[in-house]
Symmetry: C2
Subunit: 240 residues, 2 copies
């Protein structure tokens, strides 16, 4: 088994598909390879934790997997140690990260994922918090976490729900590319623009782009390039 063992989805929903449906094969590949039957779900990015956990349960129960909510556990540290796999759902990235800090869950999650090899699945905000920091979230900052540094399970940043701005727009707010370029200018760190329907699969020191669309890589030198489906992203795992 490779450590870390990650699946980072751009989004849980894709136009024309049910919740998580587009990612079923990706999820099942991961779960089967790691003999996962029950997933520990982290619902903190949305307000109604029970409802959110039920949404995920209803989506993947038909595929043969059970879902438990971390928020229902009295001893969250023990629940993490016992978990077969962790799924961190999307919603508001600021709320999610603030809650992870408040509940002191960052270190226990890092330990389970990076040392024990617990499979980690993230979607949208759950993908943002898996990376170096949440500096490249699209969300509105409705909550103030003590830091934007996140789990750092991979040493680069991801922009989920990545899309080009309509070049014919008359709107004068910054485009997505301008926003990401601003982050790169301040931090000199690469950002992977992950379009809806695509994912990053990390197995040990190997990373691969999944899904049938390109990703756009914003390089730390300010340049950018398109990467095709199935592209080898392993170079992004090197911290140099």
């Amino acid at each position: 088994m490779s450590v870390p063992n990650l699946l980072l989805l751009s989004s849980s929903r894709v136009h024309g598909h049910g919740y998580l449906e587009h990612a079923r094969a990706q999820l099942e590949n991961l779960f089967k390879a790691s003999n996962v039957k029950t997933v520990l779900f982290v619902p903190y990015a949305l307000r109604d934790h029970d409802k959110y956990t039920a949404l995920v349960r209803n989506a993947i129960a038909p595929w043969g997997y059970d879902v438990e909510g971390l928020h229902t556990k009295e001893n969250r540290g023990q629940a993490l140690r016992d978990a077969q796999a962790l799924f961190v759902g999307g919603g508001n990235t600021f709320v999610l990260l603030r809650t992870l800090y408040e509940l002191q869950l960052l270190e226990p999650i890092r330990e389970q994922v990076l040392q024990r090899g617990m499979p980690y699945v993230g979607s949208s905000a759950g993908t943002n918090v898996a990376t170096s920091s949440i500096h490249t979230t699209n969300d509105m900052p409705v909550a103030h976490p003590p830091s934007f540094e996140a789990l750092g399970l991979v040493p680069f940043n991801i922009n989920p729900h990545y899309l080009e701005t309509d070049p014919n727009s008359e709107h004068k707010g910054e485009t997505r590319d301008e926003r990401i370029a601003e982050f790169v200018a301040y931090h000199c760190r690469p950002v992977l623009g992950l379009r809806e329907g695509t994912s990053v699969r990390v197995e040990g020191n190997k990373a691969t782009l999944l899904g049938d669309r390109n990703a756009k890589l914003f390089q730390s030198d300010g340049g950018s390039k398109e990467l095709p489906p199935q592209a080898d992203l392993s170079f992004l795992l090197s911290k140099d």
Copy 2:
């Protein structure tokens, strides 16, 4: 003279107009009424402070106003006390607010605006920091301010560059309205969605919507309503 004396622009650029051109009459009305000849510009929301100050100078010098950059002043507190008017430019709201905290400028600005009645003009990020907090900025969080609480020159929040999301979009990221509703749900505070080309003018306890488009008010109870050009917004100044 009414205190406070504010002009809060949604944006400095509007499709089909030069930089600040759409707001010329609004700016000149304010400057003439307060006998302003020189504007103290706060350029911290962008990286190149000299270039940004020159951009503003070139825009309003032809109208007969001089512009000085706060970043060129050795004694910023004295510069604020001497200023005829303050203009806080747009860019990245997080960078702007973090810099205001770092340079300990929030209290001196509040004092000048709320006690001495110094005219304050803000645009986009400069409008966000004038309100209760920057929780309703659209920007990417490229910097981490110690708090999202801002100048509080008005007791509500503004979403600059407000626009409806295209209802035919196949994109699954949250819409602008969903993002603002999320803020309201967490904070129970009203948000004024300020479309490009519109502004809020505050003179003492009177506030008015300027420009020729509606604003959309997201009420603290979760409802929303459209407000027409020239709408009286004074009710938003009451803290109850």
